[in-house]
């Protein structure tokens, strides 16, 4: 796409944009965002229907009690893991070469988590009772741990986002904001450490949600200490896909704006991290699947092959998860020749993200579709337009928040000055 330049402005917002940074005109910017605003309005309307009339607006039912929303929530929380993992690498492991991607990681993480929490609030039957989990917590429930950690981590992400927000050209002029931003910035390494701890537990507990389901032998896994194996698999898969998703977001922004925002070497670095972790995850998942097939499932009276006899959930889906969207992208991301080519690198990153989404889909949808009683039927489920529109609204919200952040905030170090000459530090 051609580079967009600042021209034809009547109503201008240039004083809010950092000095020396080129942005398209306000009217053109708003025009570009208009479709996303329309999608957001439709999403808010659909969500309003669900809140006002109840969850009968969805196509979920007593057997398919979880649906599109839970699958996509798990997906975007996994993809948003780039936020905590990049903070961990930069502040704890001192990998300063990843600093150029740090701010965008925080914004992407904030969007993913706030979007997921918004959808969860629609997805429960009594949203006004959400505080009950804090007041009457069941300490044995994985969902309690998820609720606590996601709430706290969203607060941490907000605190990490505020210093970026206060670096806006106009907001910096307010001395109190400047001092606040400076003080908050000092806390960022601490926040990164807290965020790592919280994310470790809630990413794991999201996997644990399914692993503890003794009544669903397809999902149930034996435990390591108190955690089922899915606890660890979810952490591994999230930190494997997070850097890939950051790479995809940054590459998309570079494509749309026609600017080089981060040094090319950074993509290779992110790809290597993602690829190595993906390989470790796939190895662990393969071992876990074999243990489930040979021991866990038969011990509960379920022949494992029964879980793969219902179309479209045959063995090809397992092959796709482990080989097509696992081993192949892991190889492409780590092999020097393919990693050196941007096309291969980004395609592999997209495949890695799709693999993690497929894993969340299988655990949510296949688990519920499969029969448990011998006379149960294999069930299907198609989300209603309200479910699809609500989630599309969240995607629109993400695009709008990211676009506004990119326009008015220094997301990339290069934005501080001339973006065509990137130093990388």
């Amino acid at each position: 796409m051609a580079s967009l330049t600042m021209t034809e402005t009547h109503v201008t917002d240039s004083r809010w944009i950092a000095r020396g940074v080129e942005r398209i005109s306000l009217s053109r910017f708003l025009l570009c965002l208009a479709p996303w605003f329309v999608l957001l309005v439709i999403g808010v309307y659909a969500a309003g229907l669900c809140l006002f009339y109840g969850l009968n607006q969805t196509n979920m039912d007593n057997r398919f009690a979880f649906g599109l929303w839970i699958f996509l929530d798990l997906g975007i929380i996994a993809l948003g893991a780039g936020a905590f993992f990049t903070g961990f690498l930069v502040y704890i492991l001192k990998r300063s070469e990843l600093k150029p991607i740090l701010n965008t990681a925080v914004v992407v993480g904030f969007i993913c988590y706030s979007g997921a929490v918004s959808i969860l609030m629609i997805d429960v039957g009594q949203p006004l009772r959400a505080w009950f989990t804090f007041w009457h917590p069941n300490t044995h429930s994985m969902l309690t741990e998820v609720t606590f950690c996601i709430s706290c981590y969203l607060l941490v992400l907000s605190l990490e986002y505020i210093p970026i927000l206060l670096r806006n050209r106009q907001l910096r002029k307010l001395p109190s904001f400047l001092i606040f931003e400076h003080q908050l910035h000092k806390l960022v390494p601490v926040l990164a450490a807290v965020g790592t701890l919280l994310s470790f537990f809630h990413q794991g507990s999201l996997g644990g949600l399914y692993g503890v389901l003794r009544g669903r032998p397809f999902a149930f896994r034996d435990g390591i200490f108190i955690w089922p194996s899915t606890f660890f698999l979810f952490i591994l898969s999230a930190i494997a896909s997070g850097p890939s998703f950051l790479m995809l977001v940054t590459a998309t922004v570079e494509k749309v704006t026609g600017k080089r925002l981060v040094p090319p070497d950074l993509f290779r670095r992110l790809g290597l991290i993602s690829g190595v972790l993906l390989a470790v995850y796939i190895a662990a998942k393969s071992i876990d699947t074999l243990i489930w097939m040979d021991f866990t499932s038969p011990a509960m009276g379920f022949a494992p092959w029964l879980s793969y006899m219902h179309k479209p959930f045959g063995t090809p889906i397992l092959f796709a998860e482990i080989v097509l969207f696992g081993l192949i992208p892991a190889f492409l991301l780590t092999y020097r020749r393919t990693a050196a080519k941007r096309g291969w690198l980004l395609s592999a990153a997209a495949m890695a993200c799709m693999g993690i989404l497929l894993n969340r889909f299988v655990l949510t949808v296949q688990t519920l579709a499969l029969p448990t009683l011998s006379f149960d039927e294999f069930l299907t489920y198609t989300p209603s337009w309200q479910e699809v529109a609500s989630f599309a609204g969240v995607i629109a919200y993400g695009v709008i928040v990211y676009s506004l952040s990119y326009r008015y905030l220094p997301l990339f170090p290069a934005q501080k000055g001339d973006e065509t000459h990137v130093s990388g530090r």
């Binding site: 109840g54 009968n56 007593n62 009594q126 669903r216 448990t372 011998s374």
Partner: protein
């Protein structure tokens, strides 16, 4: 002394008349839901028809009343609820649901292997005039919460109050009988205290014809089934799923 209430359902006696479902709905103020489908209705007691999958004279069918199995061990729905809206009553063994504390996250529904939990997808409503027939001892549930069989807990309360008024600590077993048991015209559903070895229901649960669904999950359900037919008993295990068809 704590009780372990449970049931034995003789499938050879069940005619599929649905009286248990009607009695359950009337006793527990289950609302009329004209828009509900067979996947979104409220049926704490649900009679399912299962065929042996054969044709002609070899064809056999059985009616299986499905309700909460009141699992004793690793109770799947209890450990998952984030806000303690589900618990196993240590005094009775009944798995209790507290709709007034339920968030409506439906995690317990995904955890239940028997699909015996139901979500209130709609506001409760009754045809004009019929609300006068509601049971005053049972609170109606609001939209957005999960409910299930609680073995007619209101009847247990009434029995306990009666015993207390008479100065007794233990209830008279004849005073506590769930509505489905009372309504069954063939006496197929029997209710008793499984902790009492002399209770006829306990003895019946030890019969070689008695079985429990998905017993290998290790959840120790307290609802037993009974049949002289081998193919019906084979339904207990998931592995037989290729043999039968759901009617």
């Amino acid at each position: 002394m704590s009780a372990r209430y449970g049931m034995v359902i003789d499938l050879d006696r069940c005619t599929g008349c649905g009286a248990c479902m009607m009695a359950c709905a009337a006793e527990n103020n289950v609302p009329a839901l004209p828009k509900a489908t067979n996947r979104t209705g409220l049926t704490p007691m649900l009679v399912r028809k299962v065929s042996n999958g054969r044709n002609g004279v070899a064809q056999r069918e059985v009616f299986i009343p499905i309700l909460c199995m009141h699992c004793e061990q690793h109770t799947p729905c209890v450990s998952v609820c984030p806000q303690q809206a589900v618990e196993v009553d240590r005094a009775t063994g009944i798995v209790m649901q507290m709709p007034q504390r339920c968030l409506g996250c439906r995690y317990c529904m995904t955890a239940c292997p028997y699909h015996a939990r139901y979500f209130n997808w709609w506001d409760p409503a009754w045809p004009a005039g019929t609300e006068k027939s509601l049971n005053p001892g049972v609170a109606v549930r609001m939209r957005g919460v999960v409910e299930k069989c609680n073995m007619c807990h209101a009847r247990l309360h009434a029995a306990q109050e009666k015993a207390a008024a008479a100065g007794k600590r233990e209830i008279d077993p004849a005073d506590y009988v769930p509505a489905c048991v009372e309504a069954c015209p063939t006496g197929a559903i029997r209710f008793g205290n499984l902790a009492d070895p002399n209770d006829p229901v306990t003895q019946e649960s030890h019969s070689p014809e008695a079985f429990r669904f998905l017993a290998r999950l290790g959840t120790e359900p307290k609802v037993y089934y009974k049949s002289k037919e081998a193919w019906v008993r084979a339904l207990a295990e998931a592995a037989s799923s290729t043999e039968v068809q759901h009617g």
